[in-house]
């Protein structure tokens, strides 16, 4: 009895050795001793397989970092960092497939279709740690903007993934730097900053009117 797991592995093996997708679902199913119909019980298309592989990877990273002993001691910022380090570590074992999949997904703005499932998993995680950060006072709760924090983290996800794909440094050390610096900037922006005070002050002055009058001595 073939499982979804086996099909995914067979698919990875196929694209990596052949450098391209199988000609048709029919051919691929046959090679794996399935009928085409049975294949559709698992996945709707080859793209579906790829998407599922990405989703699995993301889920696996989350499971791994969250079961680390130190996880509970981490701040939101550190949790995000730990996720990305974990991601890069795990992707290393699947680098060829990742490069294949990224290169073969349509180039356009927005999330590539194969990452849709991964995005859902990641966003769920991001919302959680952001919520935790806001509750603990680590991050600033800004009207309209707090809801966008998760999007900023997803942008980092894409950025880091692409950076890593192009990284030629030994041990992908450059990617480590990119993660460390990128997440620092992102979270610095999420934190309370002078800008918050400035906006707050500006609002106060607007509401209490007569900015011009008050400026005169």
């Amino acid at each position: 009895m073939t499982t979804a797991e086996e099909l995914k592995n067979a698919y990875i093996d196929y694209v990596l050795t052949q450098g391209d997708k199988p000609k048709s679902v029919y051919v691929f199913a046959k090679e794996n001793n399935l009928t085409e119909e049975e294949f559709y019980n698992f996945f709707g298309s080859f793209e579906g397989i790829e998407e599922s592989i990405w989703t699995d990877l993301t889920g696996k990273v989350l499971f791994e970092v969250q079961t680390q002993e130190i996880w509970e001691q981490y701040s939101a910022r550190e949790k995000a960092l730990a996720f990305f380090y974990g991601l890069i570590e795990l992707l290393k074992s699947r680098r060829s497939f990742v490069l294949y999949s990224l290169n073969n997904s349509p180039k356009s703005f927005g999330t590539p279709p194969v990452l849709k499932g991964a995005k859902k998993v990641f966003e769920h995680f991001a919302v959680n740690i952001i919520q935790q950060g806001i509750e603990s006072g680590e991050l600033a709760d800004r009207r309209f903007f707090s809801d966008k924090y998760k999007d900023a983290l997803w942008v980092q996800f894409g950025f880091i993934l692409n950076f890593w794909a192009k990284d030629n440094s030994a041990g992908f050390e450059k990617t480590d730097e990119a993660i460390e610096k990128g997440i620092t900037v992102t979270f610095d922006l999420f934190e309370k900053s002078p800008l918050d005070s400035l906006i707050d002050y500006g609002k106060f002055m607007m509401n209490n009117g007569g900015m011009k009058q008050n400026m005169k001595f």
Binding site: Y74, R77, K174, T184
Partner: protein, 438 residues
């Protein structure tokens, strides 16, 4: 150059200085891009020059007394490499602390295990900043350990920063690239060695083994199995830094004891090992409760080749200076006097360097020397001031080895002066017989 009111001394002050430079450089970028908004033709030149000027201003502001003295060794124009040596090595790479997850990542990358799996205890918050990384406290089998972790990408940034400042440094100093290149390369080489933890571990073990029998000097045990390219694990040495130690009003006897340990440590290396711990920064030493000198950093080692060692130490350790002909010969070997010099120049440099070397060699001339006396240091600084104003010293002179050997010895003199120690200077004497036979 702007007037300088005080020289930042402590490590924190020094890093604060560099943070300021960082802001300034950042500011230069903002300035650049806002100007560019209105004038798209504006070249990057101006930006780079702005940056280099600020970096250079900050470097020279940091020069410290040791640097001032180093001008003595003919290399007034080598302020810059000297500043590189002192500053690029320390403060600048006090980069933001590594995040907890990056530390975990570094460990899993090199050991396949997290710090908490390796050690019984590991404090994820760092205790001190090391020059290019940070130090964590850990324990294993009831032993307290110091674990040094390097920031990723330090090596790259050293090279790229040097590259950026280089061309402007030449311009600022009005020196030709060729003249300065030799010194720059020497500095870059040492700095890059400092980022190589495999090498540092190897040297730490070798040097602490070789210096094991020195009196009142202690070294941590190093743990190669807990070390890697980016991590060094060693015993945690409890002790005070020089500043704290001096605040505790130690007796003259104790100060002499520490001073002697330092003197022995340096001179044993120079004359017996021919390679020396070239970073006599107070932060690299700890004074233990038992009155011993703990040495905790072997990142920067300067090896002394024969063609430098023999001529240089023959000058300081024998009565060679009495013999003008031989002295000039040695100066030529050290490139302090060059072939292109005319007879007047030869005479001039002979006199100037002779004065300098005899000043430098003074502690070696008798069997003990009191480093607390300020007159000696005033003379040294005075001499440095004097030659820094001489047009004849506008050009770099002397072989490249001077940079680190000077830094080491003047650094040592300065620490001994701060300690106010009187030391026996005949414990480890230079071996110069081979040169004499020539």
């Amino acid at each position: 150059m702007k007037e300088q009111n005080s020289i930042p001394t402590s490590k924190t002050e020094r890093s604060a200085r560099f943070v300021k430079t960082g802001f300034k450089v950042g500011g230069n970028y903002i300035k650049h891009y806002s100007k560019k908004l209105f004038n798209p033709a504006l070249s990057k030149e101006e930006l780079n020059l702005d940056n280099a000027t600020d970096i250079y201003a900050s470097l020279s502001e940091l020069k410290g007394s040791a640097l001032k003295v180093a001008q003595m060794l003919s290399m007034d124009k080598n302020i810059l490499p000297k500043a590189y040596v002192d500053q690029f090595s320390l403060s600048q790479y006090n980069a933001p602390p590594l995040s907890g997850p990056l530390i975990v990542r570094t460990f899993s990358k090199y050991f396949g295990k997290t710090p908490s799996e390796i050690f019984d205890q590991f404090n994820i918050r760092s205790k001190n900043a090391a020059s290019i990384g940070q130090v964590h406290e850990a324990s294993l089998y009831g032993k307290k350990l110091a674990v040094k972790i390097q920031y990723p990408g330090v090596g790259d940034s050293i090279s790229s920063d040097l590259k950026m400042v280089k061309p402007f440094a030449f311009r600022l100093l009005g020196m030709s690239q060729k003249e300065l290149e030799i010194y720059m390369n020497e500095v870059e080489e040492r700095l890059l060695e400092e980022t190589d933890y495999d090498l540092e571990l190897k040297r730490s073990i070798e040097f602490s083994e070789a210096c094991r029998d020195l009196k009142n000097v202690v070294f941590p045990t190093y743990y190669p199995e807990l070390s890697s390219k980016r991590i060094i694990s060693m015993d945690w040495i409890e002790g005070q830094h020089l500043k704290e130690f001096m605040k505790s009003n130690p007796s003259q006897e104790l100060r002499n004891q520490i001073g002697q340990a330092l003197w022995d440590f340096y001179n044993f290396q120079q004359h017996e090992l021919r390679a020396v711990h070239a970073d006599p920064h107070p932060g690299n030493f700890l004074i233990t409760a038992e009155g011993k000198l703990g040495i905790i950093d072997f990142g920067c080692i300067k090896e002394m080749p024969d063609d430098f060692y023999y001529p240089f130490f023959s000058l300081t350790a024998t009565d060679l200076l009495e013999n003008k002909e031989e002295t000039i010969k040695a100066f030529r070997e050290l490139e302090m006097i060059q072939d292109k010099d005319n007879p007047e120049q030869v005479e001039f440099y002979y006199q100037a360097y002779k004065e300098m070397i005899s000043l430098f060699a003074q502690p070696y001339m008798s069997d003990s020397f009191d480093f607390s006396q300020t007159e000696y240091f005033e003379k040294l600084y005075g001499y440095g001031e004097k030659i820094s104003k001489m047009p004849e010293f506008k050009q770099a002179r002397g072989v490249k080895h001077f940079i680190y050997v000077n830094r080491t010895n003047f650094g040592l003199y300065n620490i001994l002066h701060d300690l106010g120690a009187k030391v026996k200077t005949d414990t480890y004497k230079p071996h110069v017989d081979r040169f004499m036979l020539k």
